[in-house]
Structure formats: structure tokens, C-alpha cells
């Protein structure tokens, strides 16, 4: 087991932790807008770390580039998707959550 393997594994573990926190937000946050907020941050960072971890382990430049492309694509899709969902939700009159005393 080389140093690259261990570093890669550590990155992947941290990435999975980010995914967990995103899911927690998806489950616990009160409305669509806060859920989008939690999910987009956690997802993208989590997947980025997993891609980075895989790239470190693969040790091949081509694979690393491919993984970078995967990450950028998911980043684009998730960011644009989240923004589109939020925008349309707002237009359709779903109100943001407010703390009710």
C-alpha cells in the first residue's frame, strides 16, 4: 500500500462524509430553498473529493482528466439544475420558509 493509496482513500472518506452532511440537510431542512443550499454545497464538494481521491490512486493522467471532466459536468448540471429548480419554484409561488414564533 503506497502513500498515494492512503492519501486517495483519505480524500474519498472525507468526500463521503460531505455527502452524508448533504443528505442530512436534505432530510432536516425546512423548505426547498434551504435544502437546495445544503445539497449543492455538500454534493459538489463531496464528489470533487471523491474524484480527486480516485485520480490520486489511478496514477494515470488520462484517467485524472476524465475524472476532472466528470466533476465539472456534475458541477454544471447540479448548479444549473438547482438554480433552475429554485427559480421555477419561486415563480410558481412556493414561499421561502420563515421562522414562526
Amino acid at each position: 500500500m503506497s502513500a498515494a493509496d492512503i492519501a486517495g482513500a483519505a480524500l474519498v472518506v472525507v468526500g463521503v462524509l460531505f455527502f452524508l452532511s448533504g443528505t442530512l440537510g436534505l432530510l432536516r431542512f425546512p423548505d426547498i430553498y434551504t435544502r437546495i443550499h445544503a445539497l449543492t454545497k455538500a454534493d459538489n464538494l463531496g464528489l470533487g473529493l471523491i474524484c480527486l481521491g480516485s485520480a490520486v490512486q489511478s496514477g494515470s493522467l488520462l484517467t485524472a482528466l476524465k475524472l476532472l471532466l466528470v466533476w465539472i459536468l456534475v458541477l454544471l448540471a447540479a448548479a444549473a439544475g438547482a438554480s433552475l429548480i429554485a427559480q421555477t419554484a419561486h415563480e410558481r409561488g412556493i414561499r421561502p420558509w420563515e421562522r414562526q414564533e
Binding site: L73, L76, A77, S83, L84, Q87, T88
Partner: protein, 312 residues
């Protein structure tokens, strides 16, 4: 690994259950799409990368777009209609029949499995490995699809073309016109993604002969790119040439395949029996035309009717 299999199986079963019984149609469609995603994970687990690629393109993308577009054309009340209560029948006779089917299907699969244990079927993998060098390609699945059992693939493309013919015979739809969307972001996203789609489609096509990929996933990615363009409100401007050329592109896959087969027959080889030195080239030509054609056919199926350029 066992834990992973257990969770995967459980999730699949729960999603099927939800898809078939959750009360609103929208929830059912979302569950169905999630089922497709997890099926792709199952294909990866079962070491079937070719199928995983196809499922990734179809299960998560095209079928979802098809279902959403259908849902969007139904009024909301229909999509929300409680369905669980509206089954075909109920009462003891119904449950007896349902129970009978359940038990018999389960028994059949168990019996089939037990008989397989007896047989210890070796499969044709070894035989295929031996003959792979004759096929002109290096990926065994492509070898089966386009050489050893290419007749099946001709039929598959014919079925797809037939489906387009059936859909067109049911009426015309206006060519989706430019839409007034207040989503400039969408246009930007699509503009950014289209070249990547084309690149991936091309690379899948090219790799088909030595690695998983090939005409079908490539065609699906092409279709996805054009559907994305349509959804973003961008009309693909091919107007003066349109119908004439569109028909030719749709038929190209089948035509090239059949022509290749016939010319081989006249050259004395037999229908789609490639001479060894030509096999690689012929497969490449067939694959490129089939890929483009499949993309066009899937797109035509999505539009859901013969395009009428005057109505759009």
C-alpha cells in the same frame, strides 16, 4: 460486498413498490427514474459495462425526459389522481389470481435456478474468446452484436425504425418552436454542454470496437444532446432540407446495414458474413451510420409525431 448487495436489492424492491403504488403519478415517475439509476449500479456490480452505459444514457436520461414530457401534457389533476385505489379489480377472486401469479413466478425462478446449479452451464464466453480474432473487433459484446449475431442487430434497428413509423402514422406535431422561457441560464448551460455531448458521443462510437461503447450508447447521447437543445427552446434550423433529409438519416442505419449484407452475399460470402480482412472496416462503417441513425430515431420518438414544419 454482501452488505452492498443486500442494500441494493432492498432499495430496488422498495422503489418498484413505490413506483407501482404511490398515489400520485409524479412520485411514481421519480421512483421509476431512481430505479433506473440503481439498475445501472447493479449492471456495474454484475460486470456488464456495456449495459451500464446504455442504462446510464437511457434509464436516467431519455426515459426520464419522455415521461416528464408526457406528464407535462396531462393536466395536473390527472397527475395527482390517486391511483392506488383505482385498480382493475379487488375481492377474493382477484387476490386468488394475484397470489397464484406471485407464487408461480417465484417457484419458476427458484426451479430454474436449481436446474442451473445441476447443469453448471459453462456459457459461451470461452468459445467467443477463441473466435474474437476473426471478428475484426476487440470488444466481445460488439463482436456479438455486429458480427456473430448481426442479424439480430439489423432487426433491432428495424424495430426502432418501425416504432418511428408507427409514431408518425399517428399524426403530426408542430416542430417545437422557440419558446418564451425566462431561463437564460438554461440556454447558457446547453450551449456549454452541447460540444461535450458531441465529443462523448464520438468517443463512444470510436471506442466501440475495442472497449464498451458503440453505436447504441453513442446514438443515445446524440439524441440527448438534441433533446436538450429542443428543451432550451433552440430550434434546430434545418428547414429547407428537412423532411427529405430527415427521412434519409432515419433510414440510413438500416439501409447501410442491409446494403452491406446484400453486397457480401453477391460477393459470395453470405448475408453479413464478413471476410476476415474487411471485418473491422465494415463494422466501423455500419457502426457510424447506425449510431447517427439511432440518435435521429430516438429524437424522433421523443418528438412524438411526424414533424410538421408549417404548424410549428
Amino acid at each position: 460486498m454482501v452488505l452492498f448487495d443486500l442494500i441494493l436489492g432492498l432499495l430496488l424492491v422498495v422503489l418498484v413498490q413505490k413506483c407501482l403504488s404511490v398515489t400520485d403519478l409524479f412520485g411514481a415517475v421519480i421512483s421509476f427514474m431512481a430505479f433506473g439509476l440503481l439498475m445501472a449500479v447493479a449492471w456495474v456490480r454484475l460486470e456488464a459495462p456495456d449495459i451500464a452505459l446504455a442504462e446510464a444514457a437511457i434509464g436516467s436520461g431519455l426515459t426520464g425526459a419522455l415521461l416528464f414530457s408526457t406528464l407535462g401534457r396531462l393536466p395536473h389533476s390527472e397527475a395527482r389522481q390517486p391511483i392506488a385505489s383505482r385498480t382493475v379489480g379487488s375481492g377474493p377472486g382477484y387476490w386468488l389470481a394475484a397470489g397464484f401469479w406471485w407464487v408461480s413466478i417465484m417457484l419458476l425462478s427458484v426451479a430454474f435456478f436449481l436446474s442451473l446449479l445441476e447443469l453448471q452451464a459453462p456459457g459461451l464466453g470461452g468459445y467467443l474468446q477463441e473466435r474474437l480474432s476473426e471478428s475484426g473487433v476487440l470488444n466481445p459484446v460488439t463482436a456479438v452484436l455486429l458480427n456473430f449475431r448481426s442479424l439480430d442487430t439489423v432487426m433491432e434497428i428495424a424495430v426502432l425504425l418501425l416504432a418511428v413509423a408507427v409514431v408518425w402514422s399517428l399524426g403530426t406535431v408542430g416542430w417545437p418552436a422557440k419558446q418564451k422561457l425566462s431561463l437564460p441560464l438554461l440556454v447558457g448551460l446547453v450551449r456549454l454542454l452541447t460540444p461535450v455531448f458531441l465529443l462523448v458521443a464520438f468517443s463512444l462510437l470510436w471506442r466501440g470496437n475495442h472497449a464498451p461503447g458503440g453505436a447504441f450508447p453513442s446514438g443515445a447521447v446524440l439524441a440527448a444532446a438534441s433533446i436538450l437543445l429542443l428543451l432550451a427552446g433552440k430550434t434546430i434550423r434545418i428547414y429547407p432540407l428537412t423532411m427529405f433529409w430527415l427521412r434519409w438519416v432515419l433510414a440510413a442505419g438500416l439501409l447501410v446495414f442491409v446494403l452491406a449484407g446484400m453486397s457480401l452475399m453477391f460477393a459470395g460470402y453470405g448475408f453479413l458474413v464478413y471476410p476476415e480482412q474487411w471485418a473491422g472496416t465494415m463494422i466501423l462503417i455500419i457502426e457510424v451510420s447506425a449510431g447517427v441513425s439511432i440518435g435521429a430515431m430516438l429524437m424522433a420518438l421523443y418528438i412524438g409525431g411526424e414533424p410538421d414544419f408549417h404548424a410549428g
